[in-house]
């Protein structure tokens, strides 16, 4: 495994007048093919964003715009088809260069969304990681996370 990234977002942030729907944001973060694939579904938009963010984290760079630091958002192309369901990822430009320099020869994403929340786990690997063992490791890590008392905390809203 050469990189790991996780992102989670509320679907509401991509509907109506929310932040994820501003024209300046949409036109710079997403390409036309990506936006067309959503068919107006905010869950698809949210999933698309979490996949980009998770992959950028796996690359170790974070997301940026066309110029400047961070991998340009549109260099990580994510096509979401909720009807299939399927998700297709292609790395272009700086994202492809960064993946190659990090020794990543492949990757996988595991995504989930409903009307409320969307999340993606992205793994980059050197070609030696098979999907079954990657899934087993991820599932084991999540079970561990949710089951061990020492991993848990709770807090009241507004608590310092």
């Amino acid at each position: 495994m050469t990189g790991l990234g996780i992102d989670l977002e509320r679907v509401a942030r991509f509907s109506g007048d929310a932040l994820g729907c501003s024209p300046a944001f949409l036109s710079r973060v997403f390409g036309e093919r990506e936006r067309s694939a959503w068919h107006g579904d905010p869950a698809a938009a949210a999933l698309c964003f979490t996949a980009k963010e998770a992959i950028a984290k796996a690359l170790g760079t974070g997301l940026g715009l066309k110029r400047g630091p961070g991998v340009p958002c549109q260099d990580i192309e994510v096509l979401v088809d909720l009807a299939a369901p399927s998700i297709t990822v292609d790395l272009h430009g700086a994202a492809a260069v960064r993946a190659a320099s990090a020794g990543a020869r492949g990757g996988l994403t595991r995504c989930w969304c409903d009307a409320t929340i969307a999340y993606t786990v992205a793994v980059l690997h050197n070609g030696a990681l098979d999907e079954r063992s990657a899934d087993a490791r991820l599932a084991g890590a999540l079970r561990d996370l949710c089951s061990r008392p020492g991993n848990r905390s709770s807090f009241e809203r507004g608590a310092t």
């Binding site: 942030r13 929310a18 932040l19 300046a24 944001f25 940026g64 715009l65 400047g68």
Partner: protein, 81 residues
């Protein structure tokens, strides 16, 4: 650059109530999440043609400092008119 108009648009970009931000408002960019940060960077790109990074924003302690930074980055011919 119309500083007042930019602050108004920043309210929208950060989903703050209209008029709730001023040039003296502290800019805690490290507390912005990725969507908010990208929205701010996209707004700056749209309004000024400038690309700023998260580190650029961290160096600005207030919205006024951000505006000063942006005006310094703009070329002289872009500042007229």
């Amino acid at each position: 650059m119309d500083r007042s108009a930019f602050v108004t648009k920043l309210c929208v970009a950060l989903e703050r109530p209209p008029g709730s931000l001023t040039e003296r408002t502290p800019l805690h960019s490290e507390s912005l999440d990725s969507i908010e940060l990208l929205n701010v960077i996209a707004l700056i790109d749209e309004e000024t043609g400038l690309t700023v990074s998260g580190d650029d924003l961290k160096r600005c302690r207030s919205i006024g400092e951000l505006l000063n930074f942006l005006e310094e980055q703009q070329t002289p011919r872009e500042q007229t008119g």
